[in-house]
Amino acid sequence: MNITIIDILWWFLSVVAIFSALMMVTSKNPVYSVLWLIATFFAISGHYILLNAQFLAIVNIIVYAGAIMVLFLFVIMLMNLNKETEPQKNRWLKIAGALAGGCLMLILVAALKDAAAKEQVASVNQGNIGLIKNLGKELFTTYVVPFEISSVLFLSAMVGAVVIGKKE
């Protein structure tokens, strides 16, 4: 059992992702939650790079950390929510929520740890299916119809956001 640099990077990124996700859930201040979630997204992008999926890594950083999270920050700051005003929920409800999530995790792990694909290996740091050349060719030949439909989805989302957000 020799430890390679990829193993070290994998465990480091996983610990960063889980720690930032936990801090995101437990932070009282919503602005800190957004920043921790951005840290989680960067760790997940690191995982994508480790899996040689460079296109998705860059898109994850641009779309999630760049666009979506900035939108969240704008909304939080425009609504002046960046103070710790969240009323405390009943402590038992919090314990029950954590217990329910923990039970779900336990059951999923127990069910999947003997799965048939257990022996399989996700090839790290090799293969070119995640490069933009291959993905672009696939996206504009086989998946060109869903790609065009997604532009209609964006148009309807834009119209919906304007209509909902408009003052009466």
Binding site: T40, E86, A122, S123, G130, F154, A157
Partner: protein, 112 residues
């Protein structure tokens, strides 16, 4: 890297998102937890696509384009998530304008 490691990592991130949805009351943070769950699923899809590529490569597919579909799916999930966030944040802003709070407990009766 064994696929089981990726499965357990994704389950952990997904469960943290579930716990966040169940325990927080701020609508924006609940929305962020949903984004976290989507990302956990995306990570698992990419890992499975690389696993599929690996098995196809061992079986003799030397061109090595098996598993591209999984990454295209992740791309479309990101597209849908971006559209969802724009509409969802508009709804939250509307809710803040009406009841001056983003606490979901005030929404137990939607028609006030």
């Amino acid at each position: 890297m064994p696929i089981l490691n990726y499965i357990i990592l994704s389950i952990a991130l997904f469960s943290i998102g579930i716990v966040g949805v169940l325990t927080r009351r701020n609508a924006i943070i609940i929305f962020m937890c949903i984004e976290l769950m989507l990302n956990a699923v995306n990570l698992l899809l990419v890992a499975f696509s690389k696993m599929h590529m690996n098995t196809a490569f061992k079986a003799g597919d030397l061109a090595g384009t098996a598993g591209t579909d999984g990454q295209i799916f992740v791309f479309f999930i990101m597209v849908v998530a971006a559209a969802e966030v724009s509409v969802g944040l508009a709804i939250i802003v509307m809710m803040y304008r009406n009841i001056h709070s983003v606490d979901v407990n005030f929404l137990n009766r939607l028609k006030q």
